[in-house]
Symmetry: C2
Subunit: 425 residues, 2 copies
Amino acid sequence: MSNEIKQMMLNIGQRARQASRAMARASSEQKDQALLHIAKLIREKANEIQRVNQLDVERATLKGQDAAFIDRLTMTPKTIESMALGLEQIVSLEDPIGKMTALQKQASGIELGQMRVPLGVIGIIYESRPNVTIDAAALCLKSGNAVILRGGSEAIDSNTLLAQLIQAGLDAAQLPMDAVQVVTTTDRSAVGEMITMTEYIDVIVPRGGKSLIARLMAEARVPMIKHLDGICHTYIDADADIAMAIKVCDNAKTQRYAPCNAMETLLVNQAIAQQVLPTLCKIYQDKGVELRVDALTRKALEENGFEGLVDATEEDWQTEYLAPILSIKTVANMDEAMSHIEQYGSKHTDAIITNNQAQANRFLREVDSASVMVNASTRFADGFEYGLGAEIGISNDKLHARGPVGLDGLTSLKYIVMGHGEIRS
Amino acid sequence: MSNEIKQMMLNIGQRARQASRAMARASSEQKDQALLHIAKLIREKANEIQRVNQLDVERATLKGQDAAFIDRLTMTPKTIESMALGLEQIVSLEDPIGKMTALQKQASGIELGQMRVPLGVIGIIYESRPNVTIDAAALCLKSGNAVILRGGSEAIDSNTLLAQLIQAGLDAAQLPMDAVQVVTTTDRSAVGEMITMTEYIDVIVPRGGKSLIARLMAEARVPMIKHLDGICHTYIDADADIAMAIKVCDNAKTQRYAPCNAMETLLVNQAIAQQVLPTLCKIYQDKGVELRVDALTRKALEENGFEGLVDATEEDWQTEYLAPILSIKTVANMDEAMSHIEQYGSKHTDAIITNNQAQANRFLREVDSASVMVNASTRFADGFEYGLGAEIGISNDKLHARGPVGLDGLTSLKYIVMGHGEIRS
């Protein structure tokens, strides 16, 4: 890494650390004032945002980026307005900072409680979507943290402008402008520095594809709240309501293909396979979903005249398709389903469809995933659906934050002791 | 690393992962039965434990280990009985596993809650105290985890015997013996493997001195719940009760010198320095505490006839003495005290002595330490004193667990969704 980049990043880090102290002390009113001011500026400057974003889009197009990439990069009047609405929504959330649990008197006489406080400095590493600059900054500000944002180099002009609007909003609320800094170098070594400067960054939230996360994991020294992959399962139990199973499993796979909480593997109890698979798989095929199946499922479907089935390979069970492809396995019982989930799942979100409460309870307790569901679509694993108001991401980790991460995930609890002169004996 | 050690560790890891699944499903009764059986065996085999421990002690003595080391290594009838009592105390704690928050209905109709579950496999890396083998294993078992224990090579005979008793206890309760495994090789590369085998270990809890932790931090890929150092401060405010200040600060420094929660630096408001320092420092000097002071403190003390003061250097402010040495600084106000704590503290435990509620509230909110105290001795920062029943350690980290870590720190919360056929639209 060039020494110049290293110095630049350390300087950014020092300023972020300094700003984080003021942010930790900021009142809810100040933070909300800054967020509302940013929303106002975004609306006022909507044309300029689009114009500057166009520079990024043109450069990316010349570079030959594909349509999906250009789509993620492009800001429209609608995406710009939704950034402003997102800010107003975060304003409406309760400020978590300073909240205290009730004090509990201990044997010695001291009174003990816990207070929610910011983590300090958050580093966000993301790819091409410029709206993450606003969304992530807003969540970090509301939770009293400073943030260092490192977006994709392709969005550099958009991100630089958005950062200016954020800093103007901070300034208007008498908060330090260094509380939100955008790394404006496109040198990749800046990321290497961010993920190792443990003195200045308390946690890294990487937002992006699996390859980005894997690369960061190999080198990071700063702790990460990270999302890896969502190989989500639904198991249709022998005691399932058949109509419900069909409706929920259709939704879990086809409502949207790209989100991490979409179902990738369907597990069906063999006792109910003949009743549920033909109807459900007809829906899938009509929607253009490719079915990759084990031998029992193939048999059940071919007996009902299905064609175009693909044999599922070992690799299919461990693949997050994020596409109109579904792997299906017929299992002997719930234990086989849970073993499959244990072996191939990614501990993201797994569901059971059953009317048997005992089975549901065992599934809830024994499946080791961030979200475990009974009779609901895996697509519900989401910060908004969970009432968190917003999410910085969905964590695959078990430590700290698990599943959809809202404002609380960007905070920590410290112990508070109120004494009256107590000493230890 | 030799391939043989690597294979051995992977094998231990695989067996631990396997056992962790059974442990997650174990009932509270089974876990308690195992713990009580281990306590019974420890009492029955007390003589054998002492005899085997003596082998370790003799080897360490021959190697020229110092008296403090030998003291930590040696097991007496008293330390053996206290292991058994510790097990019984952990049995009396409430089982955290399976506890659920109330279900909350969301906008879509789904009902959302969180359930407390084990982390999975815990790795404990510790030094010479063999009692950690029992204490740490018991906490991990009670919280439904499997554990891999790697104690100091000097305690290998003691640890191997204790592991056998633990495994006998597990077996008696029909729990998998692999739920507690002791690494019996003294090859140091085993530690290198433990801290990087992310597939088989979910969290590492290192218990030992700063140099051990620093070495692990440089190489670990597995997340750690770690304790680094405790540079604890007490600030005596201008509005302090003088008698209380003297009593509490005496206790914080001299009740015991070695614990991490002992005070290392005293900060005194200059408005009260003349009233509090002479009496307090007389107590310290009478107890043989060396005083390392700034110029203002020296002046205040020399005017009162004190001798033998040492000038505090920059290094003193950042030193965890764990010894009868105290650094003292006279400050202009609470802001200067908080700046000093921010610059030199270790975010462990810091206290204020004051009768001014507004000052106390600012100190509580603004000091960024795991434990922040008002009018109490820093020595209270401890899992037992906090009513956690036991502690696996004290965390200096902000993520996951902060401050004294009890059973809850060895668990995670997963989301539970109870649906009625809801789908996303």
